[in-house]
């Protein structure tokens, strides 16, 4: 047995961060290779976790391999800290790693996310861990891994361009709104996970370390800090992000990604920030500075 495998089930104890040390080493080696080949999917011996596949097991394994006793962990789903899955994953790490948790993007050293990149810019040393349901950007075009692996090996991404161009021919625009494929470091086509394309530009030249874990498909990949991440587009149809006519009904932000809330059965709706920490911080700032009239404006 390798040193450091500490498992003791008789008193219901689990190793720090749940995974055994050998599994962590395997994941850690994969993470270093992933950073060395930005956007390339490193196969790893993913383990079954006590949460269902598709519910963040890849992200959890990455976080478990990275996290230490000095970390501050933030977990978000759809941008929010209080969504069910975020709550469940945060509780998992509180239980198995006794780690400090926070909702503040500023304070967090590790942020595990599903479907969003926080609005607050990230800093050097912070680690953003993405939960990835389907890591293969080419899968909808070619379901066979034996084929997609060749396409990545020889950077044969023409089929992806063709698919996007079919959208242009049909709809007059690229109809991909989330999980929008990007070329990383000028070489590998990468799925950014189902984040809205609104968030794609945040991946590029980000000072933080971006790690992606796909548990069911057993792939790990990464975008190092200060790395080019180019969303696919065409000269005559450049990449563009979503915009809203109004602003957040709670904090008045005009620059954040907004969720639509249906407020009654007559179709009334309002728009609010999907990033709850960003929105709450702005509301608190507005409350302490009464002159700021941004807060509370209607959408």
């Amino acid at each position: 047995m390798s040193a450091g495998t500490t498992m003791n089930h008789s008193d219901n104890g689990y190793n720090f961060a749940y995974l055994d040390e050998q599994t962590k080493r395997m994941i850690r080696r994969s993470l270093l290779k992933a950073l060395s080949i930005p956007g390339y999917q490193v196969p790893f011996g993913g383990r079954e976790m006590p949460l269902a596949y598709g519910w963040g097991t890849g992200g959890i394994q990455v976080t478990a391999a990275v996290i230490g006793p000095d970390d501050w962990l933030k977990v978000i789903d759809q941008g929010a800290d209080d969504t069910t899955n975020a709550v469940s994953i945060r509780r998992f790490f509180q239980t198995v790693a006794d780690v400090a948790v926070t909702e503040s993007t500023e304070v967090a050293t590790i942020i595990q996310t599903r479907h969003r990149i926080p609005e607050t810019p990230l800093k050097e040393g912070q680690v953003l861990v993405y939960q990835v349901p389907q890591p293969e950007p080419l899968q909808k075009i070619e379901p066979r891994e034996t084929e997609t692996r060749k396409m990545h090996a020889y950077a044969e991404y023409g089929a992806m361009q063709v698919t996007l161009y079919e959208d242009v021919a049909h709809f007059g625009r690229i109809a991909k709104t989330y999980d929008y494929p990007a070329i990383v470091n000028g070489r590998h086509l990468m799925s950014p996970s189902p984040i809205p394309k609104f968030d794609n530009p945040k991946m590029e030249n980000n000072p933080a370390i971006q790690l992606f874990g796909a548990g069911r498909e057993k792939r790990i990949y990464a975008v190092p800090p200060y790395t080019s991440v180019r969303s696919l587009d065409f000269d005559d149809h450049p990449f563009e992000v979503q915009t809203w006519k109004g602003s957040c009904a709670l904090c008045g932000s005009t620059t954040s990604y907004l969720d639509e809330m249906i407020t009654d059965d007559r179709g009334s709706r309002m728009f609010v920030c999907s990033d709850t920490d960003f929105c709450n911080t702005r509301q608190a700032e507005a409350a302490s500075a009464p002159d700021d009239k941004a807060a509370g404006e209607d959408a």
Partner: protein, 369 residues
Amino acid sequence: MAYVAVKGGEQAILNTHKLISESRRGNPDLAELTLAQISEQFALAVDRVMTEGSVYDRELAALALKQAQGDAVEAIFLLRAYRTTLPRIALSEPIDTAKMTIRRRISATFKDIPGGQVLGPTYDYTHRLLDFALAAEGLERPNAELAREPLDGATPRVIDLLDSEGLIEAESDDRAGECFDLTREPMRFPAGRDQRLQNLARGDEGFMLGLAYSTVRGYGGAHPFVGELRVGEIEVEIVPEELGFPIVVAEVTVTECQMINQFRGTAATPPQFTRGYGLAFGHNERKAMAMSLVDRAMRARELGEDVRYPAQDEEFVLSHTDNVEASGMVSHFKLPHYVDFQAELALVRQLRAEHAVTRAEAQMKEVAE
């Protein structure tokens, strides 16, 4: 505010845990099931959970079934998640099923076989009539008569009898000792037979059955014969490094199926029979048989047959057998997706608006003309 309700809340989650525990218990006036009762009286469910959960432990499997309210897939998931935390102490020696203590053993290929046909416990010859007598408790059950003498210690495998004539392909151990382990390594394609068999053994019984069924309905060209199906107990041995000789660490019940299939041969090989192999923990003939059919179908590539049907396509089959992965992915659509849905919503609204404008313009043009 209204929208707060959509976003989880820790309290709500804790309450779901309490509710599930309540609904698991059901009517508290009724006696609670014990693990021993589940293990003894739902033995076949326990067997399935052990097989697909990849842990041979009746008590743990019974606990998983109790915790999962009898939902096999949920119980398998519980057992798998527990399994990953266990340290690996040793690798066992391959089991030798010729040494099995036979409980049931049949062959469809020969009327009589050395060691005889042993029917054992099976539903095969029962009439599927609901037995209302079972609804009563404390029923007196009939005892089967014991044979006067025990079965022969070593019962040769039927398939080995064909071997001596060269009628069936030789089974080869190509990678002495080295065995692929997909609980430690990601799936690799093309997959070796060790990887395929491990995947099938852990695979969902229902999915396996459907695939096996397809191979005999024209989607695979299988003409199978049950060479032998045997159920019984077998010892598991390990060789501790400090001892250097095998010691018995467990006795397990397994079901093994050797399926025989015709093979037309190639320029280099004369026509002969080929094998499909299935093995399951406990007593599970359906799984072992289905597995052996799918194993044979997936050998199409190595045998030089055309790969034309789903069951022959190893990448398709192996990627979709695992019910823990499959149910995870399917159930994850219950998670909130409102960020990506919002993105799609905005696009569809925009496209509809544009569509309306284009149509209006087209109608105007028609009218004008």
